[in-house]
Symmetry: C2
Amino acid sequence: MAEQTTGDTLPAAGEAAARPPLTYGRIIHTAIALIEREGAQALSMRRVGAELGVAAMSLYNHVAGKEAILDGVADAILAGLETEADPGADWRDRIRALAHAFRRAAQEHPRCMSVVLSRTMDWTRSLPVIETMLTIGEQAGFERRTAVRLMRAFMAYVLGTLMREEGTARALRQVNLDRDRIGDLVDPARFPHVVRASRELMHPDFDGEFAFGLELLIGAMERLPRDAC
Amino acid sequence: MAEQTTGDTLPAAGEAAARPPLTYGRIIHTAIALIEREGAQALSMRRVGAELGVAAMSLYNHVAGKEAILDGVADAILAGLETEADPGADWRDRIRALAHAFRRAAQEHPRCMSVVLSRTMDWTRSLPVIETMLTIGEQAGFERRTAVRLMRAFMAYVLGTLMREEGTARALRQVNLDRDRIGDLVDPARFPHVVRASRELMHPDFDGEFAFGLELLIGAMERLPRDAC
DNA sequence: GGGTCTCACTTACACCGTAAGTCCGCAACC
DNA sequence: GGTTGCGGACTTACGGTGTAAGTGAGACCC
């Protein structure tokens, strides 16, 4: 009565390699694929195990628990960031490259990105990004304290945009009625500007908006007075 | 054998008011307090019910389910925002007031705020904020399309900052060793700038950093060319 | 051969969200 | 007063979750 879980309890000695061995990397990779396919709430130890043809508890030989898997997912996504494309380029272009690297990662793993964003998001995981941004700040001629603040503002804008884009996309997906008829849903007396701007609000241009805010920020940095150390 | 859940199954007729009746508002209020006290992962239907001296299933008479409770929490927090302090003030001051209203809410309900941020965060809930920001954009002389983009950049910065602050605070809390000895944890060869800026990184000045980025953004808006409609 | 280590396995437990059905006290009506 | 209807809290039950604990088979080294 045990054949419902595994056809044969162990592979025959002759074909031991029929199932590749469990690995930390394979677990994380499977988790990423599962999240991307079915969403973060579908991730469970049993699901990941089933995906790998293994019982849930077997995962604990390689991973401390579910939280550790989510940490691993966040690590893997952030490790895929190309933080240093061209160190010799102009500092403005380096900032643009860094911002777009984030955005590209979010577009390649949209559902994993919300996992990344909702986790600690500051510390050893993000060290490469911090280092790069501080380097750029120095290259642009800013004192250390200012460079740290610019780094934090930059991170806030980029992460906030990714989060906002995801929320906006989800919200627009669930109001799939005729998008220009926003006036039926929103009280024009209370929210006149919202109704008037409904076209722009309901048909967001994510690329353009992201670039707009980024250039706003870069322009502000350019104009910021340099302080000699 | 039923006395373990409730001392007496029903209050005596004489003291019917011993337990105030269950209400949507009381449920949400209890959920907020619970999240603030023990964190969002501690929220469960059974916990909320126990807090109210009621079985978990009784909550379903007033609330559609757990998700609805979390939606209610987000609604309540956002409803507490003072989106319109002084409509006659200078547009820069209105932006500052709006940003600080967000930040104040986050400081009053730090753990609920991450619930708010991780939920849809765009749509009917945030209409008052959007409306206010569009009004300010118009007052500052921007065309509608630009006002929408400014609103989106502003939201991204504010929300990103709140999220980043929470993440940073949590990360710093769990590295409670001597904070100036960052060099022991971080490889100075790979991350020289991080090590050099360790003091600023490990002792963040959240207020100052928030204001810095905000003024950066406002300054950029000031300089942005106005476009006549 | 015997010992030890690795690693997948099973069992078990406490907890979760919620579908379904029960039952009692209050209020309204004849 | 008696009857009825009903709102709302109750219990039970189901399938899911994360994971602590223990089991046993193969692989390796002495």
